[in-house]
């Protein structure tokens, strides 16, 4: 039985098409999402298939794009609104964080906001500091919004379907460097539950927690370390909010060491939240401080020479894992 493999971006587009076909209230709005199909071709062929009523180009107006989604969602539709670059979520920060996330609560639970905000995050394309950020921690800090950051094509399709069907505003982040990565993806329509982490690789010596592209780098780091006899358990969180800390804790109780790796800035990053919860909930199972491998506290540099030093790679992650496992006084 041969498994079909498609790219990460194709898996996304396929999920959008399937959800649009299944639910007439699902539509796409955003900059360049119509005829062009999105700057990263995330919506390729959507307008051709569903028409310009359901795949709508908008002005470059991030606040109005999100506001349109909010108004439409509150009045019964199930919008997918696209912000092109994650950096631009900040342009629409009020509409995302003050409006979409909070209206349900402020309205005493009477409002429903089945809104999916799609965007692309991550560095690696020499796009410099305004087109490369991973700002997931900002939105995890806002109650009322869910944050999804998938690492592979299979998850993209299943999680996107779940995000669209969810009745809450969901920020769905695609990693730009992963768009062309192929993976086995079933053709049928399926959804993966939000808030459930994936144990991407089982291991015994250390738990490595990550998401998005970095989860793949963690798997590569695990390969590197396997050569030294170190067995890494890699947990791909997939959804950051709500956070599946239980899967992490279960793993930590077995391995007693944790390293969190992410592409975003380390200071105040989401890794800090994972680390804090691990020490709160599994303190007595730790043999080492929770390690963090992440980007430095600086804007993302343009030049590939520096950008490659900025983004944690498998080698750097492996280094962080070795540190967590360090037993410098151990002698044979």
């Amino acid at each position: 039985m041969s498994e079909r493999t498609i790219t990460y971006v194709a898996a996304f587009t396929e999920a959008v098409k399937l959800e649009m076909a299944a639910d007439p209230n699902v539509f796409v709005v955003g900059e360049d999402v119509g005829a062009h199909g999105g700057v990263f071709h995330t919506f390729d062929g959507i307008q051709a298939q569903f028409g310009d009523r359901r795949a709508v180009d908008t002005p470059i107006s991030e606040q109005a794009i999100i506001g349109l989604g909010i108004g439409a969602a509150m009045t019964g539709l199930r919008p997918i609104v696209d912000l092109m670059f994650m950096d631009f979520t900040l342009v629409a920060a009020d509409q995302i964080a003050n409006q979409a996330a909070k209206l349900k609560y402020m309205f005493g639970g009477s409002a429903r906001l089945p809104l999916t905000i799609t965007t692309t995050g991550g560095a690696g394309l020499s796009a410099a500091a305004q087109h490369s950020q991973s700002l997931e921690a900002l939105f995890c800090h806002v109650p009322g919004i869910k944050v999804v950051y998938p690492s592979n094509a299979y998850d993209v399709k299943g999680l996107m379907a779940a995000a669209v069907r969810d009745d809450n505003p969901t920020l769905f982040v695609l990693h730009k460097k992963m768009l062309g990565a192929r993976g086995a993806v079933p053709e049928e329509r399926y959804a993966l539950p939000l808030g459930v982490a994936n144990v991407a690789r089982e291991g015994e010596d250390v738990t490595v927690v990550s998401w998005g592209k970095t989860a793949n780098d963690c798997l590569a780091a695990a390969d590197l370390l396997a050569a030294d006899g170190t067995s890494c358990e890699v947990i791909d969180l997939r959804t950051l909010s709500p956070l599946d800390i239980d899967t992490v804790l279960t793993s930590v109780r077995g391995t007693n060491r944790v390293v969190v790796a992410h592409e975003a800035v380390r200071f105040g990053g989401f890794g800090a939240e994972v680390a804090a919860q691990v020490q709160e909930l599994a303190f007595d199972y730790l043999d080492a401080p929770v390690g963090r491998v992440a980007a430095p506290h600086s804007p993302i540099p343009f030049t590939p020479a520096l950008e490659s030093r900025y983004v944690p790679d498998a080698e750097r992650i492996a280094g962080g894992i070795r540190d967590a496992l360090a037993r410098p006084l151990l002698t044979a």
Partner: protein, 325 residues
């Protein structure tokens, strides 16, 4: 625009209801019986009532931080509103939204909003929904003169025009952005001057004249329902009280004689005079409305004060839809 007698009396009743509700709320706040911020709508009643009387119950409106009048004009329940203002479990939002987030989705009222201009894109979203579903519903964005200087307004106005959505932009030009005269921060005197920039018609109406507001809105709604796109209505009006609270005279940022002059144009007084002169109603009829509504509002206060505060179990309820929390 041939208004029936019933419609005219309903508009009067609606304005009186707003006036009494707001003044009662102001007194409650002043005497410490109501927590939080309170932005009163007194003086601007003709705008909300004139607009909403031209709408159907299934049309949508989005509102502002000064939103009680909009909800009342759309048919809001005074008891549930008063309870919400007091943070009670029986309020519109279960006590979790308060004055600035009061809403009633069943009346198409998409919420007051604590952020200036933020409700405008949301009304545009509702307008998109109406177009998408092919209904003849319209949506109205209420906003102030100061909101027209914020990005969200420009983005939303442009988007609505670009997509030719059934949206009516209603600017309540009350001459002040909080405590700053608008003329000091905006070169143009009339917001409608901006309408051509987005490609939509703009009309100025006397915001103290409920009939004028109503007439302009009827035309704009007809355009919208007919697929002719958005309209900008600028209603020149005035808030009798301070930005926040119930002080009216002795404010440093606006002259007392200006306040007194605008109060002389009280929209309710002038409409009552018009009703009496037109033989639609006599003084006794109108006084009876005031008395009846005073009792209604008094009962609403009683209801609100007797209502319980929400239980602590409600603290996390409604953060997410469809989950325990």
């Amino acid at each position: 625009m041939d208004l029936t007698r019933d419609q005219q009396l309903a508009m009067h009743r609606s304005m009186v209801r707003i006036r009494l509700f707001e003044e009662t709320a102001g007194k409650l706040m002043e005497t410490g019986r109501m927590p939080g911020f309170l932005h009163l709508y007194v003086g601007q009643e003709a705008v909300a009532v004139g607009v909403c009387e031209a709408l159907r119950v299934d049309d949508y409106i989005s509102s502002t931080h000064r939103g009680h009048g909009h909800l009342l004009a759309k048919g809001g329940d005074v008891a549930k509103m008063m309870a919400e203002l007091m943070g009670k479990a029986t309020g519109y939002c279960g006590g979790k939204g308060g004055s600035m987030h009061i809403n009633d989705l069943s009346l198409g009222m998409l919420g007051a909003n604590g952020v200036v201009g933020a409700g405008v894109p949301i009304a545009v979203g509702a307008g998109f929904r109406n177009m998408y579903l092919g209904t003849d519903q319209v949506s109205v964005a209420f906003f102030g003169d100061a909101a027209t200087n914020i990005g969200a307004f420009h983005e939303a106005a442009n988007m609505a025009c670009a997509l030719q959505l059934p949206v009516i932009f209603v600017c309540e030009h009350n001459m002040y952005g909080e405590y700053t005269p608008t003329k000091k921060v905006m070169v143009i005197a009339d917001v409608v001057d901006r309408a051509p920039g987005y490609g939509m018609p703009g009309v100025i109406v006397d915001g103290m004249d409920v009939l004028a507001v109503h007439g302009a809105t009827v035309e704009a709604v007809a355009r919208a329902r007919g697929g002719e796109g958005p309209t900008l209505i600028e209603a020149k009006t005035y808030r009798f009280y301070n930005h926040h609270g119930i002080q009216n005279l002795g404010l440093k940022y606006r002259p007392d004689d200006e306040v007194i002059a605008w109060k002389a144009r009280d929209p309710i007084t002038s409409f009552e005079q018009w009703l009496i002169e037109g033989g639609v109603a006599n003084r006794e009829d109108l006084d009876a409305v005031w008395a009846e509504l005073r009792a209604t509002i008094g009962a609403a206060v009683e209801f609100a004060e007797q209502s319980p505060f929400p239980d602590e179990s409600q603290l996390l309820a409604g953060v997410y839809t469809g989950s325990g929390e």
